[in-house]
Symmetry: D2
Subunit: 424 residues, 4 copies
């Protein structure tokens, strides 16, 4: 299944008049619209290979159909997304679920879809068939050096796969922690983890980054050894200049002010990137922007301000990735919705008049500061996001085109109804 250029063109043609009217009005309302469009065009969000199948919970999983059965089909799926929105030009692999059989062929296939390889992800939260030692009681934190070594070696192997594919970063998410008081000595768990991370860090090429993700809870329900931004920060400080903290929006305690965390990590030069999703209760892994779109905007507001203050390249100096689960939606539709919500929040943040906001802050004019942010959020900038797609050769309305092309049915016809992708 491929989306052809003429299918996109014909879709766009049918929506063009309406789009242009809306764009024209938006331009009249938003100073700097052209610059925003250009930044949106440059902005790419990586798709994780494990988000292409139906998600599940510990209570069960209700599979959809036509899920990708191989790394090649996963690349094809991301290629489909990218053809539709030209904003998903990277794929993030998960080892061992996605071990390439032939690096060159894999690279060529990705290139044909216009995709690069984003961060590679290691997996030490599950036992693989035939694995000598179990991660039941942790991996990099484990009391037994043999098991830590197995996990270290796995991470180094992941780096090697990444090098072959042209990745330049390793994301380490550890489920290491404990379920009961007394189970762990927190200090030793920290020190073991640090020692293990140091070994992995030593294997990192010079042009690579190590992203250390934190998470408050799940699958461990008493403590997590990289449990909050402060812990991740303390590790990456010790590891060195190539180590950064990765923020997953769903990995916090209730009510956390994530935008402040983001601003401070940026200030410290230790923000590495993002796993986007949304949530109401815990790590719910819902579609980005589906529950708290204003929070998503506020986070981008800090990102734009903070990256500009450090003269960073928005598109390339941080890692942008989705990490969601799709229990009740077609995964590809869900990903299209997530990308749209992220692009919209980015556009809104770009439209904030920085100088005016700064003035309001300098004068403690809280009412005006709020008005400025709310105005940026309430203004409808979807035409700018659509225009960026249009210019890049993508669809004005990706979800609508996806549906009108019967993509899912085509995938089912090709792959079958009962396929189950690896992942969560």
């Amino acid at each position: 299944m491929q989306v052809l250029k003429n299918q996109i063109d014909s879709h766009n043609e049918s929506l063009l008049l309406q789009h242009e009217a809306k764009l024209s009005f938006t331009r009249s309302e938003v100073p700097g619209a052209e610059e925003i469009i250009q930044k949106l065009t440059a902005f790419q969000i990586a798709i994780p290979s494990w988000a292409l199948g139906t998600g599940g919970t510990r209570f069960g999983r209700f599979s959809g159909g036509g899920e990708p059965r191989s790394l090649e089909e996963k690349i094809e799926d991301v290629g489909l997304l990218h053809a539709l929105n030209q904003s998903s030009g990277a794929i993030s692999l998960h080892i061992p679920w996605d071990i390439p059989q032939d690096y060159r062929a894999t690279r060529i296939l990705a290139a044909q879809h216009g995709l690069t390889f984003d961060a590679v992800n290691s997996n030490t939260f599950q036992d693989q068939p035939g694995q000598p030692h179990s991660y039941k009681f942790g991996s990099l934190q484990h009391v037994d050096k043999t098991i830590r070594q197995q996990a270290i070696d796995h991470n180094i192997e992941v780096i090697k796969h990444g090098i072959e594919l042209g990745s330049e970063s390793l994301t380490v998410w550890l489920s290491d922690g404990s379920c009961f008081p007394g189970q762990l000595n927190f200090r030793r768990a920290y020190q073991n983890t640090l020692e293990s991370l140091n070994e992995i860090y030593a294997a990192l090429p010079d042009n690579w980054k190590l992203f250390l993700e934190y998470k408050a809870f799940e699958p461990n329900f008493y403590s997590t050894t990289v449990g909050d931004w402060g812990m991740s920060y303390s590790y990456v400080q010790k590891l060195g200049s190539k180590a950064y903290t990765l923020v997953d929006l769903g990995h916090h305690l209730p009510n956390a002010n994530i935008e402040q965390i983001v601003a401070l990590l940026l200030m410290e030069g230790k923000l590495g990137g993002f796993h986007f999703n949304d949530s109401k209760y815990g790590d719910d892994d819902l579609t980005a922007g589906a529950i708290k779109p204003y929070q998503l905007f506020l986070i981008f507001n800090e990102l734009v301000e903070g990256m500009d203050a450090r003269v960073m390249n928005h598109a390339t100096d941080l890692g942008w990735m989705i990490d969601a689960s799709h229990n009740v939606k077609d995964p590809l539709e869900d990903l299209l919705q997530s990308v749209e919500a992220i692009m919209l929040a980015y556009a809104q943040a770009l439209s904030v008049p920085r100088r005016a906001l700064e003035d309001a802050q300098q004068n403690n004019d809280v009412v005006t500061a709020q008005e400025i942010l709310q105005n940026a959020f309430r203004t409808d900038l979807r035409a700018l996001v659509a225009e960026a797609r249009l210019r890049a050769g993508a669809a004005l309305n990706p979800v609508a085109l996806y549906r009108s092309l019967n993509v899912r049915q085509n995938l089912i016809n090709e792959r079958g109804l009962k396929t189950v992708a690896t992942g969560l």
Copy 2:
């Protein structure tokens, strides 16, 4: 200080061209815009008398200036708001802070400002000077019947004041509860409270409603005797057909799905009304829509759907009130921002295509259902809200006019810099 018609006209004139361009574009995008504008015009949000001064916390209070020193000045302040937005045509009094000296004069003053009297509020969470018995250990729940009787009598007296002013509802918010395990027998606290409420209910005129507000915590930090919607619901069921639950958006445990609660109370015929505000952590009493605007929209989405299903009058069949605190803003500006956010959420909810949403729900098409709600929320409907104001003779941009008229400075000149309004 009064806002004159010609001041509003001149303000509107200066913004008219821009407004009309925006309105025209919005009309082209939103089917039924005219009907939405009419419903917005009819919609009035009551202002609580205690929200006209600077708020504080237990750690202190940083007063602003020009705060109203009397009931008359409070009415004047609400009159100012109403002149600016024509959407704040009611005031909600708090007894004993606002006991009228002369009912007739008070009614006439309010009428001159175009205001009616919304729900009257009793206060049994503080001791007043000279009060025979203390509410330290509760009021309607108290183990001592004498103290319960004092609180009952106070509520009946509040009803009497309300009758004289033309109010038609009593809001009962109880801080009753406990700070420590063992302090209360929960069952007896419930039964005492129910017995007390029954006596108050008996004093209620036939055309009145009793609103029973619930709150999860604060100022009691272990239990609250009307602690969640389920408890309030169980009381009002027993009290009778004039008793309803009142929802304050800040009175829930973390992550509560308030919109579902609202839908179910409406279904049961037991939703009485709202105290609007916003919050991140607890009962933070921030400006409505300042933190979670999508949640506010989702709540209105349930309200519109549910009220229409019961053929209710949006404007009059529920009580709409703000209950916020203004620690770092000019209270009047804050209230203008709250009203704007509420009107906008209402407009968005009105614009939801009900039939299409229902179809999506019938088909379990979660992606489309989300698109429908997000489209309503992302579309900029501020021009409809502004048009409703324009037609009603109010300002296109109330906050801007308030500032350009130097209202606060005028109030300070009239009333002084060090005035402190009664309230929280």
Copy 3:
């Protein structure tokens, strides 16, 4: 694998002197110790059939060995627990995981282990192989009557199995809800669920109870159709006198005061029973008493007070069940720890001097009320719990005996290392 009487006797003999010294001291400290021991002896906690295997999360599962492969082996496992503590004399089955092939043989087997059949549990949160319709979008709430009927029929079939085994209650836990705003019409979901429950209720024998469990979130992450105690209460009120609310300790929003909910449900005559476990973040399903033992005591404090006020039989008038998951422990050891913690909390609650507490409450003597509860909790009552076991022929230290008998190794030898029990 069976635990023999002489093994228990010899274990007890080795600990007897120490036990008697401790018991004697405890008796000297606790008035009414004898009565407490007798009530503890009568108290039985049902073991759910799905808690006998290693639990997992959506991220994976680390199996132990020797897990029961059949209903017969599950009964055997509960029999082992009951032999060790004589407090686990019931098993709660889950259909379709535990459909008996031969009712009579199953009943006889259970009786040989001294077990009765507690509540039977239906399952409409997973699709079973060959099932005509999917529960992906709910079961009793489903927009499609055909699917609701399938779920209704399943529940009625569960009742039938229960009747054959001598159960007298049906526990309905629904994962029904939604993951995204707009997905559900809350009102219709409620009404569909109520209609479905009514059909199930109609099939309930006269001497049966229906327990309707509520849960705040998971596996749905936006709304749950029976989401809190208030919702469950509103359903069971409408269903009739055989319908009750079931409380699972892990099914609440953060910081909920569960003991107050318990007291009010008891007051209303609508508390049906419990699923015991403990948690820090969500439905963590940890060992009872492992995280918040004081809360567990406070809940029992309300239970004892409230049941006595209604002259209820502690042992039989409510359903007592464990519902936990054992990701990092031997499930049988975990269950022994849970039962011990529950018995201890019950003993502490029984030891509270009711009259003194009531006096303190009457006098608003908060300090004394706290002292009374803390004294009950801080006093070491483990000897009373042990004595109850001793008198019933169980082990003084069940976990120690379990280990010294190498029960797990024996089960592995019998059943194999790679068995995986049905369950979560």
Copy 4:
């Protein structure tokens, strides 16, 4: 009002037999009881001067009587507590509420009561009468250097008072933060705060410590500039070796694992001390151990383990202080209950068999690790705490003696019924 030695003796005599029986039994159960008693004797918990009056909330305050009217009477109150428990041998002053008029006289008075001066506390969360600049928009974070300087100068003045009294630490708790998105530039607020702290740090004597407290929310309800342990840690790292993080148990987001934070801060050499209290919802400031006593024990478990690992002196190398509010209790009784709960948790932590716990952890024997901690917690060690008091000349049951001596009535007689202590 003073508690006389013979009053204590006579109280102790009446309880001695019972105490000795209990002590003797406890000794038989707990290895190392004697060492525990000695450590308990050495352990002192500072009483904050602002906790001696009735607390309140933003909704009101229900005063008790006999509250201290001056610094001298506050010292007298702490002296009373210390006479009763010999565990409260320090007072922590709050400037400007407690500015001494005569240092020498104040020191002598304290010495007469056996008290030393613990950390001094600055106050930049309220405006004082006559203060030139307002802290409405922050103090050390303020956008205006003039206001920052005022706050810096105040802190330096507090240090000077402390030097005169023999204090050796400054506690800085900042309410600085924001109530609305956009109000603050997080990065600049951080940098201003850091710059201000640097100036204060420069004024710190060599033998002093600076404690930087963090708090998630309240009185600011959107962001707090020192908002969590990670932020505090990042500041104190930059400040230098005399700067430490201070942990207040109520200053976290819901469900935080405080014991892990404590363990990691200790590991980093950056834990400074504690503000003890308990809470269910937010910074509820309830009596220590009143809500989550097991958590309090788990925190002490980390403290004992971690301090021993660093060969620290339990009594002197960290700052131990209560910070609670007493809305419904006699403040002095509440403080006695808090001290008792803290001492008990410390005793329990001391009784944990470290080697056995370590072995269980090394073997991933989660069940045994839990048993070890639960055994320490379930064993009744109150006799050891009482014995420590007895040996130090304090009362076996401080609350009981306080009541039998009618201390509160005496204080009312001396000071009056309507006194209101400064504080919260």
